[in-house]
């Protein structure tokens, strides 16, 4: 029982991290209509930028994270302006191939600038809190708290602000958004800012929980897509729920599967959703 609860805690933390990445994938998929294969590598870039922000500028980790998230958001917009925007007329598949290439470009840049070896953030080592048989790591509490705050802020942005509503409208139906006079390119820029920033934070939290390495983000791309699909493409709340489902499911899978086969859970989730319920569990496009 304790083991199950412990895994559940790990799963929720992983799920919160997945959710941050899956939100961007889901929004980009709905608004720009393509599967963004470089999303995992945006996470990696963000995580490494935070490493340098802390090392070079001497920022505390919180400040380094904030700065790196902003920088990554800017990089995401830049990639869109340089490549994706010019390829938009060529269709979703060309964008997909291009983003696959961007994934490799970002990954090799990370290797060039930061080297291929594994690194860690410098943090004070704090012993886990004990709650009966359960062990709770302070860093997990911090990650989960920030995830909750971010998701709440996102909720306010999407339901209260004009741009946020336009983003949801465009995720619902990009053609109708255009017909309504919504400045679609502006919404696209916001989508990349949001998706890039959240991806960077997801990358940093993942690196904080584990370690930094150049494949950090690519290795979770599959669960991120799975989370977006489970939640229904274009449905932000679905992506959050999907992230939690995937996080918990892959942790619990270690009860029955060797831990090395965790990625199979994401694959199974994708197949089940696509074959059984193509619109996702919570509905979407």
């Amino acid at each position: 029982m304790a083991e199950l609860l412990q895994l559940l805690i790990y799963g929720i933390v992983t799920g919160g991290i997945y959710a941050l990445g899956a939100i961007g994938i889901s929004l980009i998929f709905a608004i720009l209509r393509f599967a963004h294969f470089a999303h995992g590598d945006l996470m990696t870039v963000g995580a490494y930028l935070a490493l340098s922000a802390a090392a070079i500028l001497g920022l505390p980790l919180g400040g380094a994270f904030a700065l790196a998230a902003l920088l990554t958001a800017g990089i995401a917009v830049l990639i869109d302006r340089l490549l994706y925007r010019r390829l938009r007329a060529s269709g979703a598949v060309v964008l997909l191939i291009s983003s696959f290439g961007v994934a490799l470009i970002l990954r090799s840049l990370v290797q060039l600038l930061w080297g291929p070896e594994t690194q860690v953030y410098e943090t004070a080592i704090t012993p886990p809190w004990r709650l009966g048989e359960l062990r709770i790591r302070p860093v997990h509490v911090a990650i989960l708290t920030i995830c909750l705050l971010l998701v709440s802020a996102l909720h306010l942005f999407l339901t209260r602000s004009r741009t946020g509503k336009a983003m949801r409208a465009m995720a619902d139906d990009p053609d109708l958004a255009r017909v309504s006079g919504i400045a679609t390119e502006r919404v696209v820029v916001w989508t990349w800012l949001l998706g890039g920033g959240l991806a960077a934070l997801a990358g940093m939290f993942l690196a904080l929980d584990t370690r930094l390495h150049p494949l950090l983000g690519w290795n979770v791309l599959l669960p991120l897509f799975a989370a977006a699909l489970v939640g229904g493409i274009g449905n932000v709340y679905g992506a959050i729920a999907g992230g939690l489902v995937l996080g918990v499911a892959s942790e619990l899978s270690t009860l029955v599967l060797p831990a090395v086969y965790k990625p199979a859970v994401a694959f199974a989730a994708i197949v089940v959703v696509l074959v059984v319920r193509p619109r996702g569990l919570l509905g979407g496009r």
């Binding site: 139906d173 109708l176 679609t184």
Partner: protein, 235 residues
């Protein structure tokens, strides 16, 4: 004085020209109905005016201003609004949010216009917090038209607003469309319910094979023996 002049429209999707030289004119405050058999290019003509179909030839002038080929986001601020036949609401947005999105181009106070839409379609006021995707086809059509009215357009393009609706809704919707028109909004409408639509139209335009075939006052089109037989299913 005309509000909209579309002249010699040619174009379509891919390499095929669906429009083979269509002319359309709408005067301020006028209600014009386009009828014709399937594949005549009625919807395509509307989309071409609204910048959604690439034109190979022809011009579109709105309020003395050339708008040929302008994208929708440039047309909405000029006073044009368009309601597509299908997929014309944002399903996951509430009724109120749908109306707000219609007013996206505006920066001033939109509440009076929202109240105007609610006065026109009281059922929407009751359901302002309901998601549009959960509403019936007729109610969705009201949301769609309401959304288009939020910019106070001078010309409203309606693509088959009553398609697939129950007769009760068809009559209600026609009556509302007429009310909108009486407030001074010019309307260009494609409609399958040709009899009812032509009966209330100032002018009817018959399109066949992507070209103008016939044009007259609405009821006169209805009365024309050939037209009646050809497109209105006799009877």
């Amino acid at each position: 004085m005309t509000l909209l002049v579309a002249h010699g429209l040619r174009g379509g999707y891919g390499g095929v020209d669906i429009l083979q030289g269509v002319d359309l004119r709408v005067a301020p405050g006028e209600l014009v109905v386009i009828v014709g058999p399937n594949g005549a290019g009625k919807s395509t003509a509307m989309k071409a005016i609204f910048g959604l179909v690439r034109l190979r030839a022809g011009r579109v002038v709105f309020d003395q201003r050339e708008i040929t080929g302008l994208p929708p986001e440039r047309l909405v601020p000029l006073g044009l609004a368009y309601v597509p036949q299908e997929r014309n609401v944002f399903p996951s947005l509430t009724v109120e949010e749908n109306l707000e999105m219609g007013a996206y181009v505006r920066r001033d106070d939109i509440r009076p216009d929202m109240e105007r839409v609610f006065a026109l379609f009281p059922v929407l006021a009751e359901r302002r917090r309901q998601r549009a995707g959960t509403m019936s086809g007729g109610e969705r059509q009201m949301v769609a038209i309401g959304r288009a009215l939020m910019t106070r357009p001078r010309l409203l393009l309606l693509d088959e607003p009553t398609a697939g609706l129950s007769p009760r809704f068809v009559d209600l919707l026609f009556e509302r469309i007429r009310a909108i028109n009486r407030e001074g909004v010019a309307i260009l409408m494609v409609e399958q319910n040709a009899k009812k639509a032509l009966a209330m139209a100032d002018r009817g335009v018959v399109l066949v094979g992507g070209a103008n075939r016939f044009e007259d006052a609405g009821p006169a089109v209805l009365a024309h023996p050939d037209i009646a037989e050809m497109f209105l299913g006799g009877a």
